[in-house]
Amino acid sequence: MEGERKGTTEQGAAGLDGAIGQDTMERQAAADPEEDISGKKEETGMFESIYDRLPDISIKSLDRFIVLCVVVLVMVILVGVLKARHLL
C-alpha cells in the first residue's frame, strides 16, 4: 500500500481530499520515509491495549466461555458446600 494512510472520517471513507482539482495533490511521493518519532504513533490511539495482541475472538464465543466459567464456578461452590456437609 503506497503512501501514507491519512486519518479517516467517521464513515471510514478515507483518501482524497477536497472538491476541486485535487488530482495532482494526491499523487503519491516517491519514497515514504520511515519516521523517527519520539513516541510510537498507532492508528487506533484510543483502543490500543493488551487486548489487541489477542487473536480475533468473536463476542459469541466469548459469551459462551463466560457462561461456561460461571457454570463451573457455581458447581465448584456447590460441590464444596455439599462435601462440607458430608452429603457428597
Binding site: D17, I20, E43
Partner: protein, 502 residues
Amino acid sequence: MSEYRLEMHNVVKTFPGVKALNGAQLNLRPGTVHALMGENGAGKSTLMKCMFGIYHMDEGEVIYEGEKVQIKGPLDALNRGIAMVHQELQPIPERSIGENIYVGRYPMKKLGPLSVVDHSKMYEDAARVLEEVHLNFDPRAKLGSLSVSQMQLVEIAKAVSADCKVLILDEPTSSLTAAEVEALFTIINELRGKGVSIVYISHKMDEILRISDEVTIMRDGQYIGTWSSKDLTTDFIITKMVGRELSELYPARENVPGEIVFEVEDFTSINPKSFRNASFQLRKGEILGVAGLVGAQRTELMEGLFGLRSHTAGRITYKGKELKITQPKDAINNGIAMLTEDRRATGILGVLSIADNVSIASLNQYLIGGVMLNDARIESLVQENVAKLSIKTPSSKTQIQSLSGGNQQKVLISRWLANNPDIFIMDEPTRGIDVGAKYEIYCIIAEMAKQGKSIIMISSEMSELIGMSDRIMVMCDGRVTGFIDGAEANQENIMALATQFE
C-alpha cells in the same frame, strides 16, 4: 418493469455521534454511467458499502431488478452481478495476478473425492479477462511486480471479469496515468454499450463531465439531486456539493499581518529522508498556509517544531529569543499550540469527558491552594467555549468520542485556546468534517488571526489554502521550495513548487 436496474431509497445509517447517511438515494438505469459526487464525508463510500451489505442500513431499501433485496456481502453482490472496485486497494502482492482476480471464487475441479482449484482454467480465464480490458500482463506473474496504477487496472479487470450488470468504480483514476485513464474510459464505453450500469465515484470534475450521463450529488449524507451531465457546469456542481455560493466558501478576513514574531532557520530532521534546511518567517496575525504533496514532510516539520520529533540542526527564534524545544511541553510553555493531523490518534482523549479534554493542557490555571482543581472554574471555561465555538454536545460530561468530527475538533481548539497561544499550528484542521462545521472553523481561524495570533495551516485542499492563507509556503520532498503571496496564489503556481523535486 421500472426503468431503473438498481434503486436505493431513503437510506439512513448512523455511527456513534454522526449520521453518515440521512435519506440518501440512488437510481441507476441500465447502460448509463452515473456519477456520484460529494465532498469528503458526504457519504458516497458509505452508501456503496450499505448497498453491498458491508454496513447494515438503519433504514432504507435496495431494489435490484424490480425486487427488494438484502445483499449480504461483497461475494453475494458479486454473485448477483454487482461488482465494485474499491478506492482502497486490497491486493495480495505475493500471489499471482490470476489468483488475485479470482480470489474467493476460484474455479474448482474434482480430484477424486476432493475439490481443488483448477489452476489452468483460472489462468486461462484470467488471460481472457486481461485481454478484454486491453491489459498485457502475464496472469501468472506476481501481483506485487506491478506498479500501483497497474494494480488498480487489475482491480478493474477483476470487477469487469465478473460479468456484472452493475459496476461501481470508487475513485478509479486516483493512481492512473493519463494514458491509462483513456484506456479505462474505453472500457467504460464498451461496458455502457453492453448495457452495464456504472457508478462512477469521483471528484474530478473534468472526468465526470466527460464520461458520465447523469450526476447525483450528495452532501452531509443527504441526497441533493440528480442532473443530466450535459446540463452541468463545474461551478454549479461545486455550489451543490458545498451548499453555499462559491463566493461564500470562506469568511472575510480582517486580520492585518504585522511584524515578524517567529523565525525558523535551517531546521533539519534527525532522519535524513525527512525535512531538511527548512526556513521560514511568520508574522503576527498572519495565516501561513503550508502546501505540498503527500510525503512532502509538512506534518513532520511542524511536529519537529513542536517537539514531537527530533532535529539535528536549526534554530527557532520567537520574539527575538532562541527557543530550545525537545518535547511538547517546551513548545507549549513558549506559547505554541498544535492541532495534530489525526485527532483520533493524537488529539482527543476518547474515553474522557469534554470538560477533561478542554482543560487538560491548562490545568495549572485552575488550582485552589496550588493543589486542588477548581471544578467550578473549569466548568465555566468549558461552557464559555461551548458557546463561543458553537460546540454541539448534550453536556460537558459527555465522552468526547461520541461527538461528531467537527465538534471534536472544536473541543481540541478550545483546549489550545485556553492557554492563549501566540502561534497555532493546525494540521489539516478541517479534514473529515462536514461542510457546515468547516465554515465555522474557518471563522474561528479568521477571528484568531484578527486577534493577533499567528496561524500555520497545513492543508491538502487547494481551495482551502487559497481561500484562507495570507501567504502560502510550499514544500516538496522535505524541502521548502517557495512562498506564494495569498493574493497571487493559484493551483498552477502552487503545484509548480510542490513538484519541484531535485
